[in-house]
């Protein structure tokens, strides 16, 4: 099995080649504004020693923070027409009602609410008002909207109204991109609808970004399928990621933690990922990031996504350093480090300059930072260590010392000894941990169907069997399969003892 993992970060685009479970080569290139150039550069650099020649590549797995950054930074978002089926219920809380005002103003292209939806037991709540859906679509078209987010009451139980409304809208607007909330999941109208609206808002960006990824791979002469890594540490084919970009929201963080586990061989540890601008602290449990407990907000919007539980602080390799009074971060020069850092001829003192002065990094011009004496460097490192220690302590779930894996380009800021930590582990290729995590991303299998006249246990185990088989046929090794979601919803209205069961399993790629 030969796979290339790529992480397109805000600062760097990292690439690794993994062959039969070993990292063969890992490289970094600056991220480019057009994305393609950065990926091409990193692939060119990856292949510079000829490692890509000869044997074929089984897949290129790309992880990116593009989609979540677009929402957080309110950039590249598409105006969305929200169509909710369920009137007269829920009318006082229309779509976008709990969004931050600035984001709503950017994304809200219009709201249409029509009769439709279902009851908890599968009966229709109101018949779908097909004429109103068609009228709404005509108004959306007249308003110049091109992306539609459709939600319907109890659509996770019965998606038929959403599907029908999508058909009707497509008749009026054949080129529109349509997101149905039932594709995103679960009970909770507002949160499911929010996920659908965010997904719809990413329609243009997802199309362009994935086209750029495909172009870069083609241009680099690699003949391999493209996969995009998802929040849960699995991969999706490019076409599915284009349709449902929200599932790839938090994959950067997941990849870096999975990469840290892989490179260190540890399954249970704290992970600190020090980038250029921020540091993320999380916890590995059985090789996977611990998930956030509560409702996850993305760019201020409530969703039902399962995301790694991370604490982010403003500390990184590009952090501004002030000496009097001493202050490290949270401002950062980010990707402009190679221009603005003092060691590179710039004017802003950064943590990287300190590391160059202390002899930890061989970058830039050491003479330019010769005025920084050992005591000054010590003070800055101590402050960075204090910030890291505080973050680690807040994320620990148990008392006592735990091992800590330090990864990311700024991992030099983490000392070999920290209070509350039994051992600090710096790993080879740790600066490319997210690309490694992308390369080893797993394969999933899902079963979502209604079972009749079975006990809960029987229905769950039947669904589990189906999901397992699907994961294996998608390339997973059976012995590594693990259930990550298991949900059953009784359907009291249907005859017999009916229950809808959703099971999702993941496993390592066979042979990796």
């Amino acid at each position: 099995m030969r796979r290339i993992g790529i992480d397109v970060g805000g600062t760097n685009t990292d690439a690794v080649l993994i062959e039969e479970g070993k990292v063969i080569r890992a490289v970094k290139a600056p991220t480019s504004e057009d994305v393609t150039t950065g990926i091409l550069d990193s692939l060119r650099s990856l292949g510079a020693t000829g490692v890509l020649k000869g044997k074929g590549i089984d897949g290129v797995m790309i992880g990116t923070t593009h989609f979540i950054n677009a929402v957080v930074q309110r950039r590249h978002l598409t105006k969305v027409a929200a169509l909710r089926l369920g009137m007269p219920a829920s009318a006082s809380l229309p779509p976008f009602c709990d969004w931050p005002e600035d984001l709503a103003a950017l994304v809200r292209g219009g709201v249409w609410m029509v009769e439709g939806g279902h009851e908890y037991d599968g009966r229709p709540f109101m018949p779908l008002d097909e004429a109103a859906v068609t009228t709404a679509a005509q108004e959306m078209k007249a308003a110049g909207l091109k992306s539609i987010g459709i939600s319907s009451i109890f659509s996770p139980l019965d998606p038929s109204h959403e599907r029908r409304a999508a058909e009707l809208a497509a008749k009026v607007m054949p080129d529109a991109v349509i997101t149905c909330s039932s594709d995103l999941g679960r009970i909770g109208l507002l949160e499911r609808e929010n996920a659908g609206l965010l997904n719809a808002a990413l329609a243009d960006l997802a199309r362009d970004t994935i086209a750029a990824f495909e172009q870069a791979i083609r241009d680099s002469g690699i003949d391999a399928p493209l996969f995009i890594t998802q929040n849960d540490g699995t991969v999706a084919e490019a076409s599915q990621a284009r349709r449902l970009p929200v599932y790839s929201f938090a994959s950067g963080a997941t990849n870096s933690m999975r990469g840290a586990a892989y490179l260190s061989g540890l399954q249970d540890a704290m992970v600190i990922d020090v980038g250029g601008t921020t540091t993320d602290v999380g916890q590995l449990k059985h090789g996977f990031p611990r998930e956030a407990n509560s409702v996850v907000k993305v760019g201020g919007v409530r969703t039902l996504f399962r995301m790694p539980d991370l604490l982010s602080i403003g500390l990184g390799g590009g952090s501004h350093v002030a000496l009097d009074p001493l202050k490290v971060g949270p401002l950062s020069v980010g990707y402009r480090l190679l221009k603005e850092g003092i060691a590179f001829g710039g004017k802003q003192l950064t943590t990287t300059d300190i590391a160059v002065a202390a002899g930890l990094l061989a970058l830039g011009d050491k003479a330019k930072v010769a005025h920084l004496d050992a005591a000054t460097c010590r003070k800055v490192f101590d402050e960075a260590a204090r910030l890291a220690e505080e973050a680690i302590d807040r994320m620990k779930t148990e008392a006592g010392d735990v091992p800590l894996i330090a990864v990311g380009g700024g991992a030099f800021l983490i000392p070999n000894k920290l209070p509350g930590v039994s051992q600090v582990i710096h790993v080879e290729h740790g600066d490319c941990a997210n690309a490694v995590g992308a390369a080893i991303a797993q394969v999933s299998g899902e079963c979502d169907q209604i079972f009749k006249d079975l006990s809960r246990t029987e229905a769950l185990s039947a669904a589990q069997g189906i999901a397992n088989d699907r994961a294996v046929s998608a390339g997973a090794a059976r012995a590594t399969l693990k259930t990550i979601e298991s949900e059953d919803m009784p359907l009291a209205y249907l005859p017999g003892n009916s229950v809808r069961v959703r099971v999702r399993v993941v496993g390592d790629v066979a042979g990796s």
Partner: protein, 359 residues
């Protein structure tokens, strides 16, 4: 100044505190809060009146949404629906209500009287009839006091309206009104039997809106200061920590308009090696530690997110969540023999003698 204004910040706190007092049920107050934010934005304001200010012959409306919390996550509560249930009761009985009170302070129903009050321009009475959340109509202080159970109005967002004019007992009221609710789609806005000022003063559980606001303020303050929010709750309420752990199994069944099931937990920290299990009927009812019952209704069993301190509901709790289970003392009215008949463990089908965590 007996009548006091409720600020939007108070309502934000109420939403957090009432969810804790919801003991897993009552529905998340979040959607009620969103309705109130919208109403306050439109210029509506609500005031709070202590029950002691009521005249004996005043009439008070007691309101709640009934149904399965799961349904409330999809058919989102609309402030106008509960106001319609009160208006229907006024038309039906000819009474003019002095104020509006909550049937249950736990969960989303803590905010229903505020929504009705905003539309009808009456004060909210600072009392309720449960001091927490409970799944059934006879599980109230007024039912323990054998006050008249009828009439009841029940309305649905589609315009369906029903009046239950006469029933002999609270149990009958539960059976009949529940059937209506299930037919509506397991969610209905209801106005319970109107109460006189004298009845509210004698049988109401007092100061509970203020109490929920205080709990919510403590949690929000602790979150802001990055302090332990569970400790913060225990500073304003005389509660006890029962267990810290993570969810390892959730079993749910939707039956006759209720959500029933069990949740199992494995211990963490000091509770490592122990298991914990809580049975629920909309609300957390009985808790076992290593197979031994350790807490039960009417004691309040509250499952809290260990990090955020916010309550975790029976319909949303899921595998892997890290939680702290605490108990809070029950309203004294439920501790009498009559009270325990209504809300003790046997009222939920558990053949266990009630023993309070606080005994």
């Amino acid at each position: 100044m007996p009548l006091r204004d409720i600020s939007l910040d108070d309502i934000e706190s109420l939403a957090v505190g009432a969810w804790v007092l919801g003991t897993g049920g009552g529905g998340s107050p979040y959607l009620g809060l969103l309705n109130m934010r919208a109403l306050y934005k439109e210029g509506h304001r609500v005031q709070l009146l202590p029950a002691s200010e009521l005249a004996d012959d005043d009439w008070v409306a007691a309101v709640s949404n009934m149904g399965a919390p799961l349904v409330g996550q999809e058919r989102l509560t609309d402030s106008r629906t509960i106001a319609r249930a009160v208006a229907l009761m006024e038309r039906h009985t000819g009474h003019t209500f002095r104020g509006i009170m909550a049937l249950e302070i736990g969960g989303g129903n803590s905010i229903q009287p505020l929504m009705a009050a905003a539309h009808l321009k009456r004060p909210v009475i600072d009392s309720d009839m449960m001091g927490r959340a409970y799944p059934e109509a006879q599980m109230t202080s007024v039912a323990v006091g054998d006050l008249r159970p009828c009439p009841l109005t029940s309305v649905d967002v589609r315009g369906l309206e029903s009046v239950v004019e006469k029933v002999p007992t609270w149990k009958w009221m539960e059976r009949v009104s529940r059937k209506i609710c299930v037919e509506y789609g397991s969610i209905a806005s209801t106005c319970k039997a109107p109460r006189t000022g004298a009845e509210v003063k004698k049988w109401g559980i007092h100061g509970t809106t203020t109490k929920a606001i205080a709990i919510g303020q403590a949690v929000r303050e602790a979150q802001r200061k990055h302090e332990d929010p569970v400790d913060a709750i225990l500073k304003v309420e005389p509660g006890r920590v029962l267990f810290r752990g993570k969810v390892v199994d959730v079993e749910r069944r939707a039956t006759e308009g209720f959500l029933r099931g069990r949740t199992k937990f494995d211990g963490m920290d000091d509770d490592r090696g122990s298991t914990f299990e809580i049975a629920f009927q909309n609300e957390w009812i009985v808790a076992w530690r290593d197979g031994v019952p350790v807490a039960m209704s009417p004691d309040l069993i509250c499952v809290l997110d260990s990090v955020a301190g916010e309550a975790v509901g029976t319909e949303t709790i899921r595998y892997g969540q890290r939680v702290t289970v605490i108990a809070l003392p029950p309203p004294p009215v439920f501790l009498s023999d009559k009270g325990l008949q209504h809300v003790g463990p046997r009222a939920f089908g558990y053949d266990i003698d009630f023993k309070s965590v606080f005994a």
